[in-house]
Protein backbone atom coordinates (compact mmCIF):
# COMPACT_ATOMS: atom_id res chain seq x y z
CA UNK A 1 0.00 0.00 0.00
CA UNK A 2 2.80 2.33 0.92
CA UNK A 3 4.67 2.09 -2.34
CA UNK A 4 1.81 3.88 -4.02
CA UNK A 5 2.15 6.74 -1.54
CA UNK A 6 5.82 7.44 -2.03
CA UNK A 7 6.22 9.08 -5.37
CA UNK A 8 9.47 8.35 -7.06
CA UNK A 9 10.77 11.22 -9.10
CA UNK A 10 10.75 10.52 -12.80
CA UNK A 11 14.16 11.00 -14.35
CA UNK A 12 14.80 10.90 -18.06
CA UNK A 13 18.25 10.08 -19.30
CA UNK A 14 20.58 7.15 -19.68
CA UNK A 15 19.98 3.74 -18.12
CA UNK A 16 22.05 4.51 -15.03
CA UNK A 17 19.58 7.19 -13.96
CA UNK A 18 16.42 5.32 -14.87
CA UNK A 19 17.73 2.32 -12.93
CA UNK A 20 18.34 4.49 -9.83
CA UNK A 21 22.06 3.83 -10.04
CA UNK A 22 25.12 5.68 -8.79
CA UNK A 23 25.88 8.00 -11.70
CA UNK A 24 28.84 10.41 -11.44
CA UNK A 25 27.67 12.30 -14.55
CA UNK A 26 24.20 12.90 -13.05
CA UNK A 27 25.82 14.09 -9.82
CA UNK A 28 28.04 16.49 -11.76
CA UNK A 29 25.10 17.93 -13.68
CA UNK A 30 22.73 18.18 -10.70
CA UNK A 31 25.02 19.14 -7.86
CA UNK A 32 23.53 22.63 -7.81
CA UNK A 33 20.21 21.43 -6.45
CA UNK A 34 21.95 20.40 -3.20
CA UNK A 35 23.57 23.77 -2.54
CA UNK A 36 20.54 25.49 -1.01
CA UNK A 37 19.53 22.52 1.19
CA UNK A 38 23.15 22.29 2.33
CA UNK A 39 23.31 25.92 3.47
CA UNK A 40 19.89 25.59 5.12
CA UNK A 41 21.29 22.55 6.97
CA UNK A 42 24.33 24.58 8.06
CA UNK A 43 22.04 27.44 9.20
CA UNK A 44 19.81 25.10 11.25
CA UNK A 45 22.76 23.31 12.86
CA UNK A 46 24.84 26.36 13.74
CA UNK A 47 21.89 28.44 14.99
CA UNK A 48 20.54 25.59 17.11
CA UNK A 49 23.93 24.78 18.63
CA UNK A 50 24.73 28.44 19.40
CA UNK A 51 21.31 29.10 20.98
CA UNK A 52 21.35 25.78 22.84
CA UNK A 53 24.87 26.42 24.10
CA UNK A 54 24.03 29.90 25.40
CA UNK A 55 20.87 28.67 27.17
CA UNK A 56 22.44 25.54 28.67
CA UNK A 57 25.64 27.34 29.67
CA UNK A 58 23.64 30.03 31.49
CA UNK A 59 21.53 27.35 33.20
CA UNK A 60 24.67 25.46 34.25
CA UNK A 61 26.26 28.61 35.73
CA UNK A 62 23.02 29.33 37.60
CA UNK A 63 22.89 25.74 38.89
CA UNK A 64 26.54 25.99 39.90
CA UNK A 65 25.55 28.67 42.43
CA UNK A 66 22.14 27.25 43.34
CA UNK A 67 22.78 23.54 43.51
CA UNK A 68 19.18 22.49 44.15
CA UNK A 69 18.46 23.44 40.52
CA UNK A 70 20.66 20.65 39.13
CA UNK A 71 18.24 17.68 39.41
CA UNK A 72 15.18 19.43 37.92
CA UNK A 73 17.16 20.91 35.01
CA UNK A 74 19.02 17.73 34.15
CA UNK A 75 15.89 15.56 34.37
CA UNK A 76 13.90 18.01 32.20
CA UNK A 77 16.62 18.14 29.55
CA UNK A 78 16.91 14.33 29.56
CA UNK A 79 13.15 13.90 29.08
CA UNK A 80 13.22 16.44 26.23
CA UNK A 81 16.05 14.49 24.65
CA UNK A 82 14.03 11.29 25.00
CA UNK A 83 11.23 12.52 22.71
CA UNK A 84 11.75 11.12 19.20
CA UNK A 85 12.77 13.95 16.88
CA UNK A 86 10.25 13.26 14.11
CA UNK A 87 7.46 13.30 16.69
CA UNK A 88 8.67 16.50 18.35
CA UNK A 89 8.77 18.36 15.02
CA UNK A 90 5.17 17.30 14.36
CA UNK A 91 3.95 17.98 17.91
CA UNK A 92 5.20 21.56 17.65
CA UNK A 93 3.51 22.23 14.30
CA UNK A 94 0.04 23.14 15.68
CA UNK A 95 1.65 25.69 18.02
CA UNK A 96 4.38 27.26 15.91
CA UNK A 97 3.57 26.35 12.30
CA UNK A 98 5.83 25.09 9.53
CA UNK A 99 9.26 26.64 9.19
CA UNK A 100 12.54 27.48 10.88
CA UNK A 101 11.01 28.44 14.24
CA UNK A 102 9.54 24.99 14.83
CA UNK A 103 12.70 23.24 13.67
CA UNK A 104 14.94 25.40 15.83
CA UNK A 105 12.84 24.97 19.00
CA UNK A 106 13.13 21.20 18.63
CA UNK A 107 16.83 21.21 17.71
CA UNK A 108 17.75 23.58 20.54
CA UNK A 109 15.93 21.42 23.07
CA UNK A 110 18.02 18.41 21.98
CA UNK A 111 21.34 20.21 22.52
CA UNK A 112 20.55 21.25 26.11
CA UNK A 113 21.29 17.93 27.79
CA UNK A 114 24.82 17.57 26.38
CA UNK A 115 25.93 21.12 27.14
CA UNK A 116 24.29 21.37 30.56
CA UNK A 117 25.63 18.04 31.85
CA UNK A 118 29.15 18.66 30.60
CA UNK A 119 29.42 22.26 31.81
CA UNK A 120 28.13 21.20 35.25
CA UNK A 121 30.51 18.26 35.60
CA UNK A 122 33.36 20.35 34.22
CA UNK A 123 32.82 23.03 36.85
CA UNK A 124 32.48 20.40 39.58
CA UNK A 125 35.71 18.75 38.50
CA UNK A 126 37.88 21.81 39.13
CA UNK A 127 40.44 20.82 41.80
CA UNK A 128 39.76 22.25 45.28
CA UNK A 129 43.41 23.32 45.49
CA UNK A 130 43.09 25.63 42.49
CA UNK A 131 39.98 27.23 44.00
CA UNK A 132 41.69 27.66 47.38
CA UNK A 133 44.75 29.19 45.76
CA UNK A 134 42.58 31.62 43.78
CA UNK A 135 40.64 32.61 46.91
CA UNK A 136 43.95 33.12 48.73
CA UNK A 137 45.04 35.51 45.97
CA UNK A 138 41.94 37.56 46.73
CA UNK A 139 39.79 36.77 43.68
CA UNK A 140 36.11 37.62 43.96
CA UNK A 141 33.48 34.96 43.21
CA UNK A 142 33.03 36.29 39.66
CA UNK A 143 36.77 36.43 38.99
CA UNK A 144 37.09 32.91 40.39
CA UNK A 145 34.40 31.67 38.01
CA UNK A 146 35.67 33.29 34.81
CA UNK A 147 39.45 33.12 35.41
CA UNK A 148 39.79 29.75 37.15
CA UNK A 149 36.75 27.52 37.05
CA UNK A 150 35.51 28.06 33.47
CA UNK A 151 39.01 27.83 31.88
CA UNK A 152 39.76 24.62 33.79
CA UNK A 153 36.39 23.18 32.76
CA UNK A 154 36.96 23.97 29.06
CA UNK A 155 37.88 20.40 27.98
CA UNK A 156 34.59 19.04 29.37
CA UNK A 157 32.65 21.97 27.94
CA UNK A 158 34.12 21.45 24.48
CA UNK A 159 33.43 17.71 24.67
CA UNK A 160 29.75 18.50 25.27
CA UNK A 161 29.73 21.03 22.45
CA UNK A 162 31.14 18.48 20.01
CA UNK A 163 28.58 15.82 20.89
CA UNK A 164 25.80 18.42 20.64
CA UNK A 165 27.02 19.52 17.20
CA UNK A 166 27.33 16.11 15.55
CA UNK A 167 23.97 15.07 17.03
CA UNK A 168 22.32 18.24 15.72
CA UNK A 169 23.64 17.66 12.19
CA UNK A 170 21.89 14.29 12.26
CA UNK A 171 18.64 15.62 13.71
CA UNK A 172 18.54 18.55 11.26
CA UNK A 173 18.29 15.91 8.52
CA UNK A 174 14.75 15.31 9.82
CA UNK A 175 13.85 19.03 10.05
CA UNK A 176 11.93 18.80 6.76
CA UNK A 177 9.12 17.24 8.82
CA UNK A 178 8.78 20.72 10.32
CA UNK A 179 8.90 22.27 6.87
CA UNK A 180 12.38 23.67 7.41
CA UNK A 181 14.19 21.97 4.53
CA UNK A 182 17.78 20.84 4.96
CA UNK A 183 19.57 17.90 3.36
CA UNK A 184 16.93 15.45 4.58
CA UNK A 185 14.41 16.81 2.11
CA UNK A 186 16.12 15.61 -1.10
CA UNK A 187 16.83 12.26 0.58
CA UNK A 188 13.16 11.86 1.53
CA UNK A 189 11.88 12.87 -1.91
CA UNK A 190 13.89 10.30 -3.82
CA UNK A 191 15.11 7.72 -1.33
CA UNK A 192 15.49 4.95 -3.90
CA UNK A 193 17.99 6.81 -6.12
CA UNK A 194 21.56 5.84 -5.21
CA UNK A 195 23.16 9.03 -6.61
CA UNK A 196 20.78 11.26 -4.67
CA UNK A 197 21.28 9.43 -1.37
CA UNK A 198 25.05 9.36 -1.86
CA UNK A 199 25.36 13.13 -2.47
CA UNK A 200 22.92 14.35 0.19
CA UNK A 201 24.04 11.75 2.75
CA UNK A 202 27.69 12.41 1.98
CA UNK A 203 27.22 16.15 2.51
CA UNK A 204 25.58 15.45 5.91
CA UNK A 205 28.47 13.32 7.11
CA UNK A 206 31.00 15.80 5.70
CA UNK A 207 29.29 18.67 7.51
CA UNK A 208 29.40 16.76 10.82
CA UNK A 209 33.11 15.99 10.34
CA UNK A 210 34.06 19.57 9.37
CA UNK A 211 32.18 21.17 12.28
CA UNK A 212 33.67 18.62 14.68
CA UNK A 213 37.22 19.37 13.52
CA UNK A 214 36.56 23.13 13.67
CA UNK A 215 35.46 22.88 17.31
CA UNK A 216 38.44 20.66 18.12
CA UNK A 217 40.71 23.30 16.59
CA UNK A 218 39.04 26.05 18.62
CA UNK A 219 39.57 23.98 21.75
CA UNK A 220 43.30 23.63 21.02
CA UNK A 221 43.55 27.40 20.55
CA UNK A 222 41.72 28.17 23.77
CA UNK A 223 43.53 25.70 26.01
CA UNK A 224 47.22 26.28 25.18
CA UNK A 225 48.33 24.91 28.56
CA UNK A 226 47.10 21.43 27.66
CA UNK A 227 49.30 21.19 24.59
CA UNK A 228 52.45 20.95 26.71
CA UNK A 229 51.30 17.78 28.48
CA UNK A 230 50.37 15.08 26.00
Amino acid sequence: MLLAQIQFEQRKGDTCESENGFCPSWIGDNFERYVDPFWQHVFLTVTAVVLGFVIAFALALLAHRKRWLIPPISVTSQVLYGIPSVALFLLLLPATGRGNTTALIALVSYTLVFVFVNVSTGLDGVPEDSIDAARGMGLTENQLLWRVEVPLALPEIFAGLRIATTTTVGLAALAFFAGAGGLGEPIYRDIGFKSNVAVAGGLCVLLAAVLDLAILHAQRMLTPWRRATP
Binding site: M1, L2, L3, Q5, I6, N20, I70, P71, S74, V75, V79, G82, I83, P84, V86, A87, L88, L90, L91, L93, P94, A95, F114, V117, N118, T121, G122, D124, G125, E156, F158, A159, G160, R162, I163, T166, T167, V169, G170, L171, A173, L174, F177, G184, I187, Y188, I191, G192, F193, K194, N196, V197, A198, A200, G201, C204, V205, A208, A209, D212
Partner: protein, 263 residues
Protein backbone atom coordinates in the same frame (compact mmCIF):
# COMPACT_ATOMS: atom_id res chain seq x y z
CA UNK B 1 -9.73 39.23 12.55
CA UNK B 2 -7.28 42.00 13.33
CA UNK B 3 -3.86 41.02 14.61
CA UNK B 4 -3.61 41.44 18.36
CA UNK B 5 -7.37 41.40 18.89
CA UNK B 6 -8.08 39.56 22.15
CA UNK B 7 -10.40 37.17 20.33
CA UNK B 8 -7.75 36.15 17.81
CA UNK B 9 -5.50 34.74 20.51
CA UNK B 10 -8.44 32.83 21.96
CA UNK B 11 -9.36 31.42 18.57
CA UNK B 12 -5.76 30.38 17.99
CA UNK B 13 -5.68 28.55 21.31
CA UNK B 14 -8.99 26.88 20.50
CA UNK B 15 -7.73 25.59 17.16
CA UNK B 16 -4.53 24.42 18.85
CA UNK B 17 -6.45 22.43 21.46
CA UNK B 18 -8.82 21.22 18.75
CA UNK B 19 -6.00 19.75 16.68
CA UNK B 20 -4.75 17.73 19.62
CA UNK B 21 -8.31 16.60 20.45
CA UNK B 22 -8.77 15.41 16.84
CA UNK B 23 -5.43 13.61 17.00
CA UNK B 24 -6.46 11.82 20.20
CA UNK B 25 -9.76 10.90 18.59
CA UNK B 26 -7.75 9.27 15.77
CA UNK B 27 -5.88 7.20 18.35
CA UNK B 28 -9.01 5.84 20.03
CA UNK B 29 -11.59 5.54 17.25
CA UNK B 30 -11.52 4.01 13.78
CA UNK B 31 -12.42 6.22 10.86
CA UNK B 32 -12.32 6.16 7.07
CA UNK B 33 -9.09 7.08 5.35
CA UNK B 34 -8.83 10.38 3.50
CA UNK B 35 -9.69 8.78 0.15
CA UNK B 36 -12.38 6.73 1.87
CA UNK B 37 -11.32 3.18 1.01
CA UNK B 38 -9.91 1.75 4.20
CA UNK B 39 -10.45 1.93 7.92
CA UNK B 40 -7.68 3.73 9.76
CA UNK B 41 -6.95 4.77 13.34
CA UNK B 42 -8.18 3.18 16.57
CA UNK B 43 -7.57 -0.57 16.66
CA UNK B 44 -5.46 -0.39 13.50
CA UNK B 45 -2.80 1.15 15.69
CA UNK B 46 -2.39 -2.16 17.58
CA UNK B 47 -1.17 -3.68 14.34
CA UNK B 48 1.16 -0.74 13.66
CA UNK B 49 2.50 -0.74 17.24
CA UNK B 50 3.06 -4.50 17.08
CA UNK B 51 4.98 -4.15 13.85
CA UNK B 52 6.96 -1.23 15.25
CA UNK B 53 8.01 -3.23 18.31
CA UNK B 54 8.72 -6.44 16.35
CA UNK B 55 10.97 -4.54 13.94
CA UNK B 56 12.77 -2.81 16.82
CA UNK B 57 13.19 -6.02 18.83
CA UNK B 58 14.58 -7.90 15.81
CA UNK B 59 17.06 -5.09 15.12
CA UNK B 60 18.28 -4.71 18.71
CA UNK B 61 18.38 -8.49 19.11
CA UNK B 62 20.54 -8.91 16.03
CA UNK B 63 22.85 -6.09 17.15
CA UNK B 64 23.19 -7.58 20.64
CA UNK B 65 23.86 -11.03 19.21
CA UNK B 66 26.87 -9.60 17.38
CA UNK B 67 28.06 -6.84 19.71
CA UNK B 68 27.87 -8.58 23.11
CA UNK B 69 30.08 -11.61 22.28
CA UNK B 70 32.44 -9.39 20.29
CA UNK B 71 32.70 -6.85 23.11
CA UNK B 72 33.21 -9.60 25.72
CA UNK B 73 36.03 -11.24 23.77
CA UNK B 74 37.71 -7.93 22.89
CA UNK B 75 37.37 -6.76 26.49
CA UNK B 76 38.64 -10.06 27.91
CA UNK B 77 41.82 -9.94 25.86
CA UNK B 78 42.08 -6.11 25.95
CA UNK B 79 42.27 -5.90 22.16
CA UNK B 80 40.74 -3.39 19.75
CA UNK B 81 40.18 -0.71 22.39
CA UNK B 82 40.33 2.14 19.88
CA UNK B 83 37.68 0.61 17.61
CA UNK B 84 35.39 -0.46 20.45
CA UNK B 85 35.49 2.92 22.18
CA UNK B 86 35.19 5.00 19.02
CA UNK B 87 32.36 2.98 17.47
CA UNK B 88 29.88 5.13 19.38
CA UNK B 89 31.42 8.39 18.20
CA UNK B 90 31.44 7.34 14.56
CA UNK B 91 27.90 6.03 14.90
CA UNK B 92 26.70 9.36 16.27
CA UNK B 93 28.17 11.28 13.31
CA UNK B 94 26.08 9.35 10.76
CA UNK B 95 22.51 10.72 10.67
CA UNK B 96 19.87 8.03 11.15
CA UNK B 97 17.99 9.15 8.03
CA UNK B 98 21.17 8.82 5.96
CA UNK B 99 21.88 5.35 7.36
CA UNK B 100 18.35 4.19 6.54
CA UNK B 101 18.38 5.84 3.09
CA UNK B 102 21.69 4.19 2.16
CA UNK B 103 20.24 0.76 2.98
CA UNK B 104 17.02 1.46 1.08
CA UNK B 105 18.82 2.85 -1.98
CA UNK B 106 21.51 0.19 -2.15
CA UNK B 107 19.77 -2.93 -0.74
CA UNK B 108 16.16 -2.13 -1.58
CA UNK B 109 12.94 -1.77 0.39
CA UNK B 110 11.44 -4.34 2.77
CA UNK B 111 11.84 -5.74 6.26
CA UNK B 112 15.40 -7.07 5.96
CA UNK B 113 17.20 -3.90 4.74
CA UNK B 114 15.37 -1.75 7.28
CA UNK B 115 16.14 -4.21 10.07
CA UNK B 116 19.81 -4.28 9.07
CA UNK B 117 20.04 -0.48 9.05
CA UNK B 118 18.43 -0.26 12.51
CA UNK B 119 20.72 -3.05 13.77
CA UNK B 120 23.71 -1.05 12.56
CA UNK B 121 22.35 1.92 14.48
CA UNK B 122 22.03 -0.22 17.64
CA UNK B 123 25.45 -1.86 17.38
CA UNK B 124 27.86 0.91 18.53
CA UNK B 125 26.41 1.67 21.99
CA UNK B 126 26.13 -2.05 22.82
CA UNK B 127 29.68 -2.77 21.63
CA UNK B 128 31.20 0.18 23.49
CA UNK B 129 29.36 -0.60 26.70
CA UNK B 130 30.16 -4.32 26.60
CA UNK B 131 33.83 -3.57 26.05
CA UNK B 132 34.01 -0.97 28.83
CA UNK B 133 31.92 -3.17 31.17
CA UNK B 134 34.26 -6.11 30.65
CA UNK B 135 37.41 -4.04 31.10
CA UNK B 136 36.24 -2.48 34.34
CA UNK B 137 35.71 -5.85 36.07
CA UNK B 138 38.11 -5.82 39.00
CA UNK B 139 41.40 -7.53 38.25
CA UNK B 140 41.27 -9.16 41.69
CA UNK B 141 38.08 -11.01 40.77
CA UNK B 142 39.64 -12.18 37.50
CA UNK B 143 42.82 -13.30 39.26
CA UNK B 144 40.84 -15.18 41.90
CA UNK B 145 38.81 -16.96 39.20
CA UNK B 146 41.98 -17.89 37.36
CA UNK B 147 43.44 -19.20 40.61
CA UNK B 148 40.40 -21.45 40.93
CA UNK B 149 41.37 -22.97 37.59
CA UNK B 150 38.76 -21.37 35.30
CA UNK B 151 39.44 -21.39 31.58
CA UNK B 152 39.13 -18.21 29.50
CA UNK B 153 35.66 -19.25 28.31
CA UNK B 154 34.49 -19.93 31.88
CA UNK B 155 36.01 -16.66 33.04
CA UNK B 156 34.10 -14.73 30.39
CA UNK B 157 30.75 -16.43 30.94
CA UNK B 158 30.81 -16.83 34.74
CA UNK B 159 32.75 -13.81 36.00
CA UNK B 160 33.05 -11.03 33.43
CA UNK B 161 29.59 -11.30 31.85
CA UNK B 162 27.62 -11.18 35.13
CA UNK B 163 29.73 -8.34 36.54
CA UNK B 164 29.49 -6.33 33.30
CA UNK B 165 25.77 -6.99 32.87
CA UNK B 166 24.47 -3.67 34.25
CA UNK B 167 26.70 -1.68 31.89
CA UNK B 168 25.91 -3.95 28.92
CA UNK B 169 22.22 -3.51 29.66
CA UNK B 170 22.64 0.27 29.75
CA UNK B 171 24.02 0.04 26.22
CA UNK B 172 21.09 -2.13 25.11
CA UNK B 173 18.68 0.37 26.67
CA UNK B 174 20.18 3.34 24.82
CA UNK B 175 20.26 1.34 21.57
CA UNK B 176 16.66 0.22 22.06
CA UNK B 177 15.35 3.73 22.64
CA UNK B 178 17.24 5.00 19.58
CA UNK B 179 15.89 2.19 17.43
CA UNK B 180 12.27 2.61 18.57
CA UNK B 181 12.51 6.34 17.86
CA UNK B 182 14.08 5.74 14.44
CA UNK B 183 11.66 2.95 13.46
CA UNK B 184 9.24 5.87 12.97
CA UNK B 185 10.81 6.45 9.54
CA UNK B 186 10.77 2.73 8.61
CA UNK B 187 7.81 3.32 6.24
CA UNK B 188 10.30 5.10 3.94
CA UNK B 189 11.45 1.55 3.18
CA UNK B 190 7.87 0.26 2.92
CA UNK B 191 7.82 -1.36 6.36
CA UNK B 192 4.75 -0.52 8.43
CA UNK B 193 5.34 1.05 11.85
CA UNK B 194 3.76 3.74 13.99
CA UNK B 195 5.41 6.15 11.56
CA UNK B 196 3.12 5.01 8.73
CA UNK B 197 0.47 7.69 9.46
CA UNK B 198 3.30 10.26 9.49
CA UNK B 199 4.88 9.24 6.19
CA UNK B 200 1.64 8.37 4.38
CA UNK B 201 -0.06 11.61 5.38
CA UNK B 202 -2.22 11.62 2.25
CA UNK B 203 -4.00 8.50 3.55
CA UNK B 204 -4.13 9.37 7.23
CA UNK B 205 -4.53 13.15 7.10
CA UNK B 206 -3.45 15.72 9.67
CA UNK B 207 -5.12 14.00 12.61
CA UNK B 208 -3.37 10.74 11.81
CA UNK B 209 -0.04 12.48 11.52
CA UNK B 210 -0.31 14.26 14.88
CA UNK B 211 -1.91 11.21 16.53
CA UNK B 212 0.98 9.00 15.44
CA UNK B 213 3.46 11.59 16.73
CA UNK B 214 1.74 11.44 20.13
CA UNK B 215 1.72 7.63 20.06
CA UNK B 216 5.43 7.41 19.16
CA UNK B 217 6.34 9.85 21.94
CA UNK B 218 4.35 7.95 24.57
CA UNK B 219 5.78 4.61 23.40
CA UNK B 220 9.38 5.84 23.54
CA UNK B 221 9.11 7.55 26.93
CA UNK B 222 7.30 4.52 28.41
CA UNK B 223 9.92 2.16 27.02
CA UNK B 224 12.70 4.36 28.35
CA UNK B 225 11.21 4.31 31.85
CA UNK B 226 10.47 0.58 31.65
CA UNK B 227 13.97 -0.35 30.56
CA UNK B 228 15.50 1.84 33.28
CA UNK B 229 13.46 -0.12 35.85
CA UNK B 230 14.52 -3.40 34.25
CA UNK B 231 18.14 -2.28 34.40
CA UNK B 232 17.88 -1.87 38.16
CA UNK B 233 16.31 -5.32 38.31
CA UNK B 234 19.12 -7.07 36.39
CA UNK B 235 21.87 -5.52 38.49
CA UNK B 236 23.29 -8.37 40.61
CA UNK B 237 22.51 -7.88 44.30
CA UNK B 238 26.20 -7.87 45.13
CA UNK B 239 26.79 -4.83 42.93
CA UNK B 240 23.90 -2.93 44.48
CA UNK B 241 25.48 -3.37 47.93
CA UNK B 242 28.71 -1.79 46.76
CA UNK B 243 29.08 1.80 47.89
CA UNK B 244 27.42 3.94 45.25
CA UNK B 245 28.30 7.45 44.31
CA UNK B 246 26.19 10.31 45.58
CA UNK B 247 22.78 10.84 44.03
CA UNK B 248 23.83 14.07 42.38
CA UNK B 249 26.82 12.40 40.87
CA UNK B 250 24.67 9.73 39.29
CA UNK B 251 22.49 12.34 37.63
CA UNK B 252 25.55 13.94 36.09
CA UNK B 253 27.78 11.41 34.47
CA UNK B 254 29.99 13.37 32.08
CA UNK B 255 29.59 12.65 28.39
CA UNK B 256 33.13 12.60 27.18
CA UNK B 257 34.03 12.79 23.55
CA UNK B 258 35.85 9.51 23.78
CA UNK B 259 32.76 8.28 25.49
CA UNK B 260 33.59 5.64 28.00
CA UNK B 261 30.16 4.12 28.27
CA UNK B 262 26.65 5.41 28.19
CA UNK B 263 25.34 5.73 31.74
Amino acid sequence: MAEGHPLSATLQLASFVGEFADALDFLFHERESVSGQTEIGGSELFHLTGNHLALSAASVGLAALIAVPLGLVLGHYGKGEFAAINASNVGRAIPTLVLLAVFVAYLGIGFVPIMLSLALLALPPILTNTYVGTRQVERDSVDAARGMGMTDAQLISRVELPLALPIIFAGVRVAGINVVATATIAPLGSVDSLGTPIIAANVYGRDGRLGAAIAVTVLTLALSAGLAALQRAVTPRGLKLAPTRSRRHRLLTPLRRRAEATP
